[in-house]
Symmetry: C2
Subunit: 352 residues, 2 copies
């Protein structure tokens, strides 16, 4: 429908009876142009249906205004919220973040990273896929492109990290369980290829140790970090000779799975077996029973990551401080009343 070849600043220039340089200046909002000229040009821009070619512009300008966000699992609302947090701050800085999903696949991640770089992004915020190899970011580092990791870190990397205090979160949750009178606990889900797993498991172990739970009463059942994984973990745990009575779950998805499996066995989460989740996704509050979970404020971490990135770009550095976000345990119903004074009224009214 429109004129075939797409319009350029030359077309605008002809239309408005000025030079291409003038058009360029108007496009950049330079104050050097006489207002009447500027509006003449702006009219011409409308008339010819011009769309700015940022690729061409970036050829001369040092930096683009796009930032890439690489997310390992978009379908997990937890990560989606991270993305939303980042977007909020980028938007107000006039930057458009492009999100790409790696679906937890390192090969895909490689492609995505490559594509983003070729596109000339100004920086990258990455929640690395599980199993990312140590060298995966070398290319990017040598290119001098600012990168920050969000939520997850890589074992030996020097790239700044924005993440929640997983160790402390796990510690708090475990202490809560022990405080409720549980003496034989289990950690559900996750596997050792994930740094986060070690952090959370570390917190669990430290709490057990500090608060007088013997090593043989601090169990671990690895598993998928999904509802399905949680179901499997619970089955495994209850099949033990001497089953635990409470579980700290790697994340909320695992916790939901575990609660589901309890229900299948006619056991009441909270009353018969205590469950704590991790991440505190929106759903946790609305579950039956409402899930006690460690809140990590992912949107807040996303905002933080975006701010750090902005600062890095501005000061043209590739270094920044790590930021460990505060966590807090939000107590709801899934751990029931104290184990010592245990009774059967698993009521509906919950804690805030």
């Amino acid at each position: 429908m429109a004129s075939r070849a797409k319009a350029t600043i030359f077309d605008i220039a002809r239309e408005a009876g000025v030079s291409k340089s003038t058009v360029s200046l108007v496009l950049q909002g330079s104050g050097l142009i006489r207002p009447e000229t500027a509006s003449k040009v702006r009219k011409a821009i409308e008339d010819v249906g011009y769309v700015y070619n940022r690729g061409a512009a970036n050829l001369r300008k040092a930096h683009s205004n796009v930032i890439g966000m690489v997310i390992n699992d978009l379908t997990n609302p937890f990560f989606a919220e991270l993305a939303v947090g980042m977007e909020r701050v980028f938007q107000s800085a006039g930057i458009v973040p492009f999100i790409a999903n790696t679906a937890e696949n390192p090969v895909r991640q490689e492609e995505v990273l490559k594509s983003l770089m070729e596109q000339g992004v100004a920086g990258l915020i990455v929640s690395p896929a599980r199993g990312t190899t140590p060298g995966a970011f070398r290319r990017i580092e040598t290119a001098g492109l600012p990168v920050v990791f969000a939520m997850r870190r890589l074992p030996e990397s020097r790239i700044p990290v924005i993440a929640p205090d997983n160790h402390r979160g796990a510690y708090l949750a475990t202490a809560h369980l022990i405080g409720k009178g549980h003496r034989r606990l289990v950690f559900f889900g996750g596997s050792s290829d994930l740094v986060v797993y070690h952090e959370r498991l570390g917190g669990f172990r430290e709490a057990c140790e500090t608060l007088g739970i013997a090593d043989r009463d601090a169990l671990v059942v690895e598993g998928e970090t999904s509802r399905r994984g949680g179901i499997a973990c619970l089955e495994t745990a209850l099949a033990m000779a001497e089953p635990p009575t409470a579980a700290l779950c790697f994340n909320d998805a695992v916790a939901f799975g575990a609660m589901l499996a309890l229900r299948k066995r006619r056991l009441e989460p909270g009353a018969d077996f205590a469950i704590v989740g991790f991440d505190d996704v929106a759903e946790a509050e609305h579950y039956m029973p409402a899930l006690t979970s460690v809140a990590v404020d992912s949107a807040g971490l996303g905002e933080r990551a975006a701010h750090v990135m902005l600062k890095m770009i501005q000061s043209r550095t590739t270094r920044a401080e790590d930021h460990i976000g505060a966590v807090n345990l939000v107590v709801r119903e899934s751990c029931g009343p104290d184990r010592r004074t245990r009774n059967r009224n698993a009521g509906l009214g919950g804690a805030a």
Copy 2:
């Protein structure tokens, strides 16, 4: 750490002792180059830490290999799945989709669209934000850029649409409710600025009419399309002089909210009040009680949308057929047993 100025094909050419044209050919995988020369060049590429500048290339090439996906609400797993479906097919076509979130905000959408165009995308897949104005896509249409709408349509637009059969889904769900013996029904959530709302409500009304429910027994309570909205809808409905006994909800989020509100009143979803959701998000299956819902296969629709886009690009057209995806009602527990033979065992074992 690396050499300051970023490497170009000239640097590679010097390093490998060939001309820039040869390097360009190698980059494009042309078969015209002698294999030994090619590998010499490839080595040089590694050595200088080259990153391809797609912006520069696009200056000459007609089309880029990036496609923009504009999503109205990333935190809704329903839309996230749509994105994942699209990604699957683009990936195998060697195309990298960039996702941008509009957070249901038309102004933001405008910005995002503009930015994507400036970036020189080859096409756009859009789930338009609520309240998108008719003219919002005129710019893009006159630019001759292929666009497809996913999940949602705009009232008077000629842009092809990939969406589920909302009308039929609502019809099926309503018929199910009526089949269970309900005689006074309500439609929960949504508002009339959404085309989808009209489609679903239309199905609800048609079923009522066809199956002998009087107009005054087919109620409507508008509301937010969220859990919170669902809670409010249920309160409103039960406060009526003659309350309904079953609800078709605009989407699953509303349904979850309604069930929650029932529970708060010590009513059992299914036994005391029947609920059907729409979209069949993953969570529906795992809820207590499991939610009966209309499955729309969003990932499948995403794949479909991507295919259509690919075809449009390939045949350089801006037109395509609409595609209305099949839906099916998946019956679980939230409508309980038949109302006529009603009893109180709201058991756990559910239908597949």
